[in-house]
């Protein structure tokens, strides 16, 4: 028989209300509280134990509580970890999210919980565990347990899960490739017919709206400023010693240009697959204009040029990776006292 380890708080664990919110975690054999409903709905599984913990205690002692849960997982060796449902309870939601994330991500055992869509823990943890959509309050307990049991049953039986909306959990936000029966053109024209007829249709990709980057205020005094050169145009030392990829870069590099006045042909080259590199290889300064910066430095227009080339390939690089590069590069430049950056793209 498959084994489930259950997690709940002081209230649903029937210890008491807010006055028991500092209860330290403990474990009881068998099903307690909402686990009883799960037990009834899943005769093929056994609720081996229930961990109960006060919400305030968890919030203020996250690491200790996770250690306790990990010890119980090691002891009971469950096939599935179920927490909550937490409905709209903020602290309980975080406790469910933290414990499920620990079990799913670190211990590699499937973990599910349930929450109301406005519970802040949904956005914090949906990427790491399956959070079933529930009503706002415990009045929706019956429905929540029914949905969580159905999902738990499928996971325990090793059945292939449908899409999040079919299974009733919040999408983790992960895009995975699938093979359709109809090719993209067939689907596109069918979608167009529905759109033209005013019939419902479903886009295959929800558009994100991006954070707009506000340009910084101009530097008040360029003559005493330290300026750095960054490019996403894939300019690297000739031979590409660090194997920067032609597309989908996973890192950025910083190359020492001390003593150079320009990027010479044959000493630097482009590895970027997103544009015609012939002219950049002829004169790498076309993409990374280090020569002009050095001239301006000589003329006194710029206080100082940061003597490095900071470079990556901006071709097909994911927004997540690009955002990370930006943060890392900014940290490096701030530490070096750089006040302004010329960032070239292709």
């Amino acid at each position: 028989m498959k084994k489930i380890l259950f997690y709940t708080n002081q209230f649903f664990g029937q210890i008491g209300g807010e006055e028991f919110a500092y209860t330290e975690p403990f474990v009881e054999e068998g099903a307690k509280g909402p686990a009883m409903g799960l037990k009834a709905a899943l005769p093929e599984a056994e609720i081996v134990a229930t961990v109960i913990c006060g919400d305030n205690y968890f919030a203020e002692n996250v690491d200790k509580c996770k250690e306790f849960i990990q010890a119980q997982v090691e002891k009971y060796q469950p096939d599935l970890f179920v927490a909550g449902p937490a409905f709209n309870a903020g602290r309980f939601g975080i406790a469910c999210g933290e414990s499920c994330t620990l079990v799913q991500e670190d211990l590699g055992i499937p973990a599910i919980t349930g929450m109301y869509e406005e519970n802040p823990a949904v956005d914090m943890f949906k990427a790491y565990c399956k959070i079933v959509k529930t009503a706002k309050s415990a009045a929706g307990m019956k429905d929540a347990i029914a949905k969580m049991s159905a999902l738990a049953g499928k996971i325990l039986r090793g059945e292939k899960l449908g899409l999040p909306k079919e299974e009733g959990y919040f999408p983790m936000g992960k895009r995975v490739n699938v093979f359709h029966e109809k090719n993209g053109a067939v689907r596109a024209v069918e979608m167009l017919v529905r759109k033209l007829n005013g019939e419902p249709y479903e886009t295959e990709l929800e558009i994100s709206t991006y954070e707009k980057v506000e340009p910084s205020a101009p530097l008040p005094d360029l003559k005493h400023a330290k300026i750095a050169l960054c490019t996403s145009g894939g300019i690297v030392p000739f031979g590409n010693p660090d194997h920067l990829t032609a597309a989908s870069a996973k890192f950025w590099k910083k190359y020492d240009l001390a003593g150079l006045d320009k990027l010479e042909k044959g000493k630097f080259e482009s590895v970027h697959a997103g544009y015609d590199p012939v002219y950049a290889n002829e004169n790498p300064n076309r993409v990374a204009p280090y020569n002009v910066l050095k001239e301006l430095e000589k003329e006194g227009e710029i206080g100082e040029v940061y003597p490095y080339l900071i470079t990556t390939t901006g071709n097909s690089t994911s927004v997540a990776d690009a955002t990370r590069f930006g943060k890392e590069i900014a940290e490096d430049l701030k530490a070096a006292g750089v006040q302004g950056v010329i960032l070239t793209s292709t």
Partner: protein
């Protein structure tokens, strides 16, 4: 205008002499083909190979894939070889259905890809189901990269046309007939149905990022109307554009999946009234100009709806989005096709640009996702080039011969006229 496509089904290829078609077998003569190719003195050496579906064969780096097509009167691929040219898209065109000319040889740039004739990569594209006559081309040393691209492009098209001529005596063909009227006739054909225009994006950004329209580089044209029949006849030729996954090869132009599908619904669900070719340029000013000129022509055609196909990703996503936005602002209901770069783990934002009006999107999958390909018994081309192409890296070749690549690296792996079954969902 009426175009009849005479399709001769080809299911295998062999070397032999004289070159001919026997039943569904194409027989070609390597010596004769070599002679044709060496007429271009910029070619130092050329050899040929055959790759058939289901075999343990890998081709890379692939530059272009072309379906052999030829005409007895008029010409296919007009504007490439002769000074004079006629409008394409009428008369009879012979097509070798199920077979392609595929060009490979030393790499020109980073945009050349992989075709596997079996294994997991074969699920991703239509090429793996076709019989490939592979041409391995080596240029003369003095030929620079831009000319190298031209040499391989013209050689591929020339061979496809020559091989297509072998179909002239064939009698075992099926036919597809397409008719196309002038703007007024098309507009009035189905007065009760909404009118639909196809916006045909094509890359126009330099070496290995160009397309050719009647032989002219699409960088130096403005958005223009064209007929679907011209497209079938090779008025559009690939400049071996962009990364392998999204490269609109000449084959994908000749067999444009959007056009085929629009014709299927034409006269039933809507009235397909025209195509506007929109070059995807590098600078913002050009993007805004081409948006204005494209949308203007879609409006001139009286469209109620539009389908936009894509080529490439990154800066071309901006073209896709702003054209979509402007069409919607003009009350033209629009569906777009795109791929996604959602990161290896699928957790990143999918697109580098977006507009809220893009509310009807078909996706051909997350191109950053990786795939482990088994070693193949035979490689045609240069395996090591995988390290330099889009979708590959220096660690792609595994010690046991397997190949780790992103979907980007598979030719047609996320074809943006939607000629693939791959898509993506959020879990």
């Amino acid at each position: 205008m009426v175009l009849e496509l005479r399709k001769i089904a080809i299911r295998s290829i062999e070397f032999g002499s004289p070159a001919r078609i026997e039943g569904d077998k194409l027989i070609v003569d390597p010596d004769e083909m070599k002679e044709w190719m060496l007429e271009d003195s910029r070619i130092k050496n050329v050899s040929f190979d055959i790759a058939l579906p289901g075999t343990s064969t890998r081709i890379l780096p692939v530059k272009d894939v072309i379906e052999p097509r030829a005409k007895q009167e008029g010409e296919t691929f007009p504007g490439l070889f002769r000074e004079d040219m006629e409008e394409a898209g009428s008369g009879v065109t012979y097509c070798l259905d199920g077979c392609v000319v595929t060009t490979t040889g030393p790499i020109v740039g980073f945009q050349e890809g992989v075709i596997d004739m079996s294994g997991p990569a074969a699920e991703y594209n239509v090429y793996s189901k076709l019989c490939h006559l592979v041409m391995i081309l080596e240029k003369q040393d003095y030929v620079d990269p831009h000319e190298h691209e031209e040499v391989v492009r013209l050689a591929g098209i020339k061979l496809a046309r020559k091989v297509g001529e072998l179909a002239f005596p064939c009698e075992n063909y099926t036919t597809e007939t397409y008719e196309w009227g002038n703007i007024g006739e098309n507009y009035n054909a189905y007065p009760d149905l909404p009118r639909v225009v196809y916006v045909y994006n094509c890359m126009s950004q330099g070496l290995l990022h160009d397309s050719y329209f009647y032989g002219r580089d699409s960088k130096i044209i403005v958005p223009t109307m064209l007929t679907p029949l011209e497209v079938f006849d090779g008025a559009l030729v690939s400049g071996n554009c962009v990364s392998p996954g999204s490269k609109t090869t000449t084959y994908m132009h000749q067999n444009n999946a959007c056009i085929k599908e629009l014709f299927k619904h034409h006269g039933k669900d809507f009235n397909f009234v025209g195509i506007v070719l929109c070059p995807l340029m590098t600078t913002l000013k050009e993007k805004f100009r081409n948006r204005m000129l494209t949308v203007r022509q879609v409006k001139m055609l009286g469209a109620d709806g539009a389908l936009i196909s894509q080529e490439g990703f990154g800066n071309p996503t901006t073209d896709l989005m702003i054209v979509c936005q402007e069409l919607e602002r003009n009350g033209i209901k629009t569906v777009i096709i795109t791929n996604e770069d959602a990161g290896i783990d699928g957790m990143s934002e999918s697109l580098p640009d977006s507009v809220p009006e893009a509310n009807a999107i078909v996706t051909t999958g997350n191109s950053n996702a990786t795939l482990m390909l088994p070693a193949m018994d035979k490689t045609i081309g240069v395996l090591k080039d995988i390290e330099r192409v889009c979708g590959g890296n220096v660690n792609s070749i595994q010690p046991d011969g397997r190949l780790l690549i992103e979907i980007h690296g598979i030719m047609g792996g996320h074809n943006l006229q939607g000629n693939t079954l791959v898509g993506a969902v959020t879990i």
